[in-house]
């Protein structure tokens, strides 16, 4: 379907930025996890997930994002989200993602913060 999530990424030193585009369900979550794990395997110490082109993340997708976050935490890394709609932000807070990951309004803020953590 046209709503399926596309994931792209870019590496900036120790920081990997992942952009999503579309609906994050189980398939979208798996696409994000695949790219995130590949970046961690290639030595990234921080991930920034920019969701500005996503308007719906269902609870299955969030459960996969939590798995990604746990893996980042296990590696002593840091994960930050940015570009969240108010509804996605609210849902992340309901499910506790905001307790363990950082949330920033803009990609610039998120990258600046995680770069500080990895320095």
């Amino acid at each position: 379907m046209s709503e399926s999530c596309k994931v792209s990424s870019e590496r900036r030193g120790d920081v990997a930025i992942l952009w999503t585009d579309g609906y994050i369900n189980n398939q979208g979550g798996e696409e994000i996890a695949k790219e995130a794990y590949a970046q961690l395997d290639r030595g990234a110490r921080a991930l920034v997930l920019n969701l500005e082109k996503t308007r719906i993340v269902n609870s299955i997708g969030i459960s996969i994002l939590i798995e990604v976050l746990e893996k980042v935490m296990d590696k002593k890394g840091v994960l930050a989200f940015c570009g969240l709609t108010p509804t996605i932000d609210k849902t992340f807070r309901i499910m506790g993602l905001a307790q363990y990951a950082e949330i920033y309004p803009t990609q610039e803020d998120a990258v600046r913060s995680v770069t500080t953590h990895t320095a």
């Binding site: 719906i56 269902n58 709609t85 849902t91 309901i94 499910m95």
Partner: protein, 148 residues
């Protein structure tokens, strides 16, 4: 719903979706169209859409629907005092469940635990203004309302 106000005749849309991957997105298009008709904010429409997604995927995963379909009804209405609302009913002809027996999820139970699911009803209740769940051996009905 408890707050009163019913849908005038003709302000109701019904649709049936098959139990199939991503069909919940088809349903959200209808919710968005009706939310826009009411001139709801985009954020409120997003909340209705996500609540609807969660209701649909709950049924897809757990209801074991006899007819392999979900029956959706969207209603527009107005309270006596004037507040307009969008109501969404999700009906499945599945095996039902005891909503009182569903364990309430928490971030503490979710993180570093194998069981990360079970948030659907919590999300629905958090995003919608009113939610009624009735369930029995013949199926489950989730009725949820969002005020403009």
């Amino acid at each position: 719903m408890s707050q009163g106000g019913s849908a005038p005749p003709g302000r109701e849309v019904s649709m049936t979706i098959p139990v199939a991957p991503e069909m919940e997105i088809v349903a959200t298009a209808q919710a968005a169209a009706l939310g826009e008709y009411l001139a709801m904010t985009r954020d409120k429409i997003d909340e209705v859409k996500l609540a609807l997604v969660e209701a649909c995927i709950n049924a897809f995963e757990h209801a074991d629907c006899r007819d392999e379909q979900l029956h959706l009804t969207f209603r527009l209405g107005q309270e006596p005092k004037g507040r307009e609302w969008l109501e969404v009913e999700v009906l499945d002809k599945g095996k039902g469940f005891d909503s009182q027996a569903v364990e309430k999820p928490s971030p503490e139970k979710t993180f570093h635990n194998h069981r990360k699911r079970g948030w659907g009803l919590q999300i629905i209740k958090s995003l919608m203004d009113e939610v009624e769940i009735t369930s029995g051996k013949t199926g489950t009905r989730i009725l949820m309302r969002k005020y403009k």
